[in-house]
Amino acid sequence: MIEAYGLTKRYGAKTAVYNLTFQVRPGAVTGFLGPNGSGKSTTMRMILGLDTPTSGQVTVGGHAFKGLPNAPRQVGALLDAKAVHGGRSARNHLLSLAQLSGIPTRRVDEVLGVVGLQEVGKKRSKGFSLGMGQRLGIAAALLGDPQVLLFDEPVNGLDPEGILWVRNLMKRLASEGRTVFVSSHLMSEMAQTADHLIVIGRGQLMADMSVNEFITRNSVGFARVRTPEGEPEQQEKLTAVLQEAGGQPQPEGDGALRVTGLPLPHISDLAHHAGVRLWELSPHQASLEEAYMRMTQGSVDYRSTVDERAGLQQQMPGGPLPGQQMPGGLPGTPMPGQHMPGAPVPGPPMPGGPVPGQQMPAQQGGWAPPPPPPQDAPNPYARAEGGDAR
């Protein structure tokens, strides 16, 4: 059982984690989801006592991590696969960790076998692939037969077989009644592994619910409507009718319409009354991945801009290029060349200001997200800043 209460971490002016309160229960795999830079690893480090929270607290099994009398026997963690001295052999690495918590040497060979590294146990871990490094990290986590397990992005760099192995391992560990907390930025991975989801974006809690609940709450159904090819006036007519009835028809790339906001029978009735023939009328469910992206799209820290190759054409030194500002740039820390001290923080959807052509990609994709939150939405960092005026 991991319990976090009001967990907040600031690095200078940057708020990495803000007021996180959640619980991770035993007997289930809990997925910890968020885009890159959303504070997953910081939260994990705070759980493990590596980083001290600015405020709030987190306990493991009711105790602060630093107060555990024999931490590896209670909590196993894979933080990052390469947190290993590359010059040491895999076996000696595990042996030193085992000795640190009084675990017998034969357990080292046991876990090497569990993760499938017994052949390379004597090899220096410098030469390990990313997947082998992950396995070594998992071996270290399993060493103490702990009740609580934390994995930070465990499937990174693993081959399909390895991914399947990790997935089954985590499910098995949870079924034994352990607390399994797994971070990932891949919703698709979590959908197959986790029972429960905790989603954060920009360090703030966005969802804390079971996977099924997450799907029903967040995935929006839509209808795909196709009118006869080569008769565009039919489609225009239908679009007008649907809009009049309160639906939101959006053209899809292949000539079909994606309609939200209207039940299927109603669409059929409307088309019938308008005298439009339909080639297709099918119900669809947005995937979990889409639901996740919709939820976190306002909180993506690192967003790419369209490469206009303008920098190659003109040779004008100095002057910030559009889109080069740090998205998380805060009023408190004006950077040289940043023309915005005191100016409002750029709203979440389009950091760096509008760039010509940047609004297009969303429409071109297979699905169109609902309109982004308005620009004047309350900025989560404003509160965090105000609370700690230094």
């Binding site: 309160t21 480090r45 590596l50 001290t52 405020s55 105790h63 009398p69 947190a83 052999s89």
Partner: protein, 338 residues
Amino acid sequence: MSTQQQYQGQVPPQQPGRPSQPQQTGHAQQQAQPQQAQQVPQQQAQQHGWSGQGGGATYTSPIPPRRTHLGNAIVSEWTKIRSVRSTVWTIAIMFALVVGIGLLSALAMSGGQYTGNPLLSSGLFGLMLGQICVITLGVLVITSEYGTGMIRTTLTACPQRGRVLMAKSLVFFVLAFVTTTVACTITALINSALLSDQEIPSYVRNSSLADSVEGGRIVADSGEWLGATVGAGLYVALLGLLSLAVGALLRHSAGAITTMMGVVLLPLLLAMFMRAEALETVRDKLMEYSPLNGLGALFGTPMLPEDSASGWPLLGGLAGVTAVALVVACTLLNKRDV
């Protein structure tokens, strides 16, 4: 009643000698906050119908966990230090430098005239170079963990950070002391075997050097033997331990090694360029407290000719500085994020 209090009631009392001070102060500040804070999750837990401890579904390892202690950390650090190549290399090079240079200089001087330097003093030359290896190893013992990220694994496995630093210090210090002392003893034996039958010029018999001649052979008294073996080993091991503390403070290999090189070499280098009369006191102080002077004095050859210090007071001073650096390093290690 807060969980923290319950917990402290269950565990056995703190073991003596365990560095618990920094943790306790850390908790004292948080104590007030968690007391109200913890009630909320606890209540929620009851509402949801699951309990953190002792719940039926919760896994408990069949082998109950034992409380760990400094001994575990020392065994672990010994495994770590012996299983990387940098240890083998630095100590092998130190050995080669100390014994090799000692042997070469003894061979070069044997059969010549006695110059008036103490019998074992030529061991200093090799050790001046050899100590750089020990300093490097001292720094690497801690900074290699920061450089590779291993420190996060270590401190997750042992959140009692002071214990980790203490175990590292002890293991490294004993290793450095034993190897350096052995290397210095071998060199001293070589010197005594090859140089004691040097030709003794007639002026020696009437000067203050007459003490070091006994029955026509050049000898070293027990104080000289102690200084050139155990004293030198202790001195260099302490310098290595200071390097470890500096490494823990700076958390960067190159930075810490450079700093230690500066500490060892700069005072003497600066003093060499202070030729002006007005700077004489500063120059003499720099000479006197230069780490190299301490080592030289242990071999009976202090930097200032009129200085009669044995080197042991400077060794005590170095021990004091090292202790302070270790305490600061431990305090910061407990405070900083890793």
